[in-house]
Each structure stands twice: as structure tokens, then as C-alpha cells.
Amino acid sequence: MEIKVYEKILKANDVLAAANREKMKSAGVTSFNLISSPGTGKTTLLEKTLERLAGRVACGVIEGDVQTDRDARRLQQYQIPVVQINTDGGCHLDANMVAVALADFPLVAQQLLFIENVGNLVCPAGYDLGTDGKIVLLSVPEGDDKPAKYPAAIVNAAVVVLTKIDLLPYCNFNEEKFWEDIANVNAAATRFTVSAATGAGMDEWIVWLGKQVKS
């Protein structure tokens, strides 16, 4: 006898993600899920971003890492609420981990919440966390072929950020081809090219973030 089902395997995650979304929405917070390989510069971009938004936009961060609270400690100097999640070997954050982190997070006082996922361009793509959008970061030294190789991460991203553009002269990176491959899987994504080290492209990024604040 055959039982017809047709259900998403990650249904439980989607239900929790919807609850997270509702919770953040009612607190008036705009939230983003930051996804990239390890070493693309998520935390460095966050540091420079928090520096520039200090005193203008109230920001909070949920940090996801396999181990250590090093990233959370890096961000504590900005005097903002930071919660560290350690996945203990887990390759991605899921909606339940974020729900636990949100339970005692001062949400109402925040305007922007950044959730920095575990460094991984594969697994985080499958798990909705309940954020307003996904921001995928790819760096120049990773190579221009990554959008074509990892389409699942990019396909429903709201934003794609190309980081470390100060390294363009030293890498064999075809920027035109890179954006063409991005357009092939997600033409609608908002694009930024930045260097957190030199500050190039940071103005556009900060202006855009400012516009995402709901109140």
C-alpha cells in the first residue's frame, strides 16, 4: 500500500523560521542571514559596517561558528548585543538555533540584526532562518567560478557582495564573468563590490543598509 505524502523534509525548520520572522517583524527589526565560505570576510565586513553605523543605526549580531567565541569577542568592542552560537561540528545554523538565540535577545532596541552563518557555501543554503533576506559574500581570491559552482547559495539571495576587491590586481579573477554567472542564477540580486581593508565600495553598502531600516 502506498501512502502519498508530498511534504518538505525541512518543514519543522520552516515552521520555526516563520515564527522567527514574525518575532523580528513585530519588533521592527530588519534581519539578514550572511552566508559565505570560511575566510571570505564576513566578520571583517561586519566590523567595518558596525564602525560606520555606530550612533546612527542600532545593530545586533548573532554569530554562528563551529567552535570558539572569537568572532563574538571581535565584535564586542562596538558595544552592541552579540550572541554567539557554537554548532559543535554542525555545518550550518538552523531556525531552531536562531529561535534560542532570539529568546533573550534585546530585539526591540535593534534596527538591523545580522546573523553570521557558519562559514560554508553549501549547507546554509537549505535552511531558512526567518530573516528578511540572505546576503551571500564571495571574495576575489576564491575565484570567479564560484557562482556557477555553488548556485544553491546564490539562487535566492537578496544581495551578493564581492569582497576583497583590493586583491583584484593579484588574482586571476574575471569580474565580468563573475557577475555574468551571478546573473545566470539570480539576476535580481542587489550587488556590491567592496574592500573592507581599503574602504572601497563601503559607502554604497552602508547607504543601502541604512535604507533597509524599517522605522
Binding site: M1, Y6, E7, I9, L10, V122, G126, V155, A187
Partner: protein, 123 residues
């Protein structure tokens, strides 16, 4: 890769559905799933995780049938619907990139075969 945890979630869901239909986990023979090419789920890793997990469990006699699903696009410009490859999500009819992905992103449980036994119609 998180295929092992996906299998755990899958078996949890299967067990629940079968119980709701009055069946027994031990009588499950086939579990059918659909894997979207854009889901990030790797079918070989999934198969390996399945075999590892079911050994010596009530699911031991179950088989996993995987159907791969190519991305299906709905073009917002010309209105056509097409299956495409995962590397080029562009309308093959008019070339537009203004598209909606209708399928290919999910990992789905589609059906379960339960063996019929005396006093149990398999359900």
C-alpha cells in the same frame, strides 16, 4: 554536508506519517523522495547516510528511492514554463532573467510503501 541530519529528519517524518495511517515502521519497504538540483542535497551522500542510519533499526527493510528534480522556471516576461539546468536560470524561450523558480529548491518526501500483512492492510 548535513545529509545525516536530513536522513534523521526524514525518518522521523516517515515514522509519524506511517503511524498516523495505522501502519508500523517495520513494514515500510520504500521511501520515495524528490531532491531538487538547487536544494544543496547530494544524492550519493544521502544514500550513504540512509544505509548507515537504518542498519539494525526498525527501518532496516526500507529502500530509499531518489528522484532528482531539475529547476522549473516561470518566466515573468513571456509567461512560459520550462525545466532548465541549475547553472543557467534564464528563460530558454525569451532569454529573460526575470524568472520565478517554481521547483527544484526543495527536498521532499513524496510517498511511502508499506507492506500489507494479515490484519493490517499495509496501512
Amino acid at each position: 554536508v548535513h545529509e545525516l541530519s536530513l536522513i534523521t529528519d526524514l525518518l522521523c517524518q516517515v515514522k509519524k506519517v506511517v503511524a498516523e495511517n495505522g501502519g508500523f515502521t517495520e513494514d515500510i519497504r520504500i521511501i520515495r523522495v524528490t531532491v531538487g538540483r538547487l536544494s544543496g542535497v547530494e544524492p550519493e551522500a544521502l544514500r550513504f547516510a540512509f544505509i548507515t542510519t537504518i542498519t539494525d533499526s526498525p527501518f532496516a527493510l526500507a529502500e530509499l528511492e531518489i528522484t532528482m528534480q531539475e529547476p522549473a522556471l516561470h518566466c515573468r516576461v513571456c509567461g512560459s514554463k520550462n525545466e532548465v539546468t541549475a547553472v543557467k536560470l534564464v528563460c530558454p524561450d525569451c532569454g529573460s532573467q526575470d524568472i520565478e523558480i517554481e521547483a527544484g529548491r526543495d527536498f521532499l518526501l513524496t510517498s511511502i510503501d508499506v507492506e500489507e500483512k494479515n490484519g493490517n492492510k499495509g496501512l
